[in-house]
């Protein structure tokens, strides 16, 4: 009897240690209270309006970036593609998050945002628009973008928040996660968040 109890306790401890290790590999924060994003009006990469309304009804992962970013932004987008693939093994297809690339450098982004984004996945959504609207969208996901001074060639960099915002189906900022993302651990983290969100929604009905 006691031996059995020890065995159960040992197994429980091992499982706890494993889940802790998995959680530890995701650098993120889940907010106790999700904050609704503000209203903003942007366009998706096909020119269709993209507002906070488009965020409703499904989960979204939003990252800020710009198309003249050849290193970090593509790295994170490719990384997110792997995360979503892993997540597809864990949650129902209708609960899979949309990946939204919020392009913060509209002068240079407008022309090539579609090509830039769909190279990582045909379902990824590139979004951009007027600077003021981009600012509002950024505020909603608790992110910033700062344009640096141009170099002598007229080229400039844009410093932006590194975190990816996790938006729930009520268009609220539910969590933020920081790259790089280990695909399986991040998928576990998001699957847990999505299942809990679904349970809470169904529970409140």
């Amino acid at each position: 009897m006691t031996r059995k109890r020890w065995l159960v306790l040992t197994i429980a401890a091992v499982l706890a240690a494993i889940s802790w290790a998995v959680a530890a590999r995701v650098n993120g924060v889940v907010f106790d209270r999700a904050t609704p994003v503000q209203f903003f009006t942007l366009n998706d990469h096909n020119g269709k309006p993209f507002t906070a309304e488009q965020l409703k009804g499904r989960w979204s992962l939003i990252l800020a970036g710009f198309t003249h970013c050849p290193d970090v932004c593509p790295f994170t987008l490719a990384n997110l593609e792997q995360v979503v693939t892993e997540l597809g093994l864990r949650v129902r297809p209708d609960r899979l998050p949309a990946v939204v690339f919020l392009a913060v450098d509209p002068d240079r982004d407008r022309a090539n945002i579609k090509d830039y984004v769909v190279q990582f996945h045909p379902d990824f959504i590139g979004v951009t628009g007027e600077l003021g609207e981009i600012e509002r969208a950024l505020k909603g996901i608790d992110a910033v973008a700062i344009r640096a001074k141009p170099d002598p060639h007229g080229n400039y960099q844009v410093t932006h928040s590194a975190a990816v915002a996790v938006i729930d189906p009520q268009a609220r900022l539910a969590a933020k996660i920081n790259p790089p993302f280990e695909p399986k651990a991040t998928a576990d983290f998001l699957a847990d968040l999505i299942r809990r969100g679904a349970a809470a929604t169904e529970g409140s009905r």
Binding site: V72, A78, A111, Q157
Partner: protein, 166 residues
Amino acid sequence: MIGYVVDRRRSLAIGAILVTAVLQVALASAGEPVTAENAWIPWAPPAIKVHAGYMTVVNRSDVDQVIVGAHSPAYERVELHQSTVKDGLSQMRAVDEVVVPAHGRVAFEPAGLHLMLIGAKRASVVDGPVPIVLRLRGVEQVAVTAVIRRRDGGPSSGHHHHGASH
């Protein structure tokens, strides 16, 4: 008079070729103190003209070597860049030089130190070779042939198992 000028040009050209050949032999016999391994450029759609270049630069010599610049016939300009995350902000800045320590190596890799390849002159083709020249302090240059590859994604890719951390 005209013939003289042409001859002189021709002899200059032949001279230059000879000097280059001698230098190449000299470099090769010196065992190429600095080389670049696994150089690659992530494939990008034709509309995207700014690319990144990755590689590992190896210094087999007894002295530190300093990369002070780079160029490529396939791009208008090549710069040395460093991506960093500081206070939650993702930043990219140009660096003037990169020191490769004696008997050491420096990795140009995603989300870190990389070559910023600006103004692609032609569309990228998977498996296509791209010549790049790294300029070292002094007179030496390192000829690199980068290969265009599709990105494979996350930090655990490149290893064929998942879940292992570095």
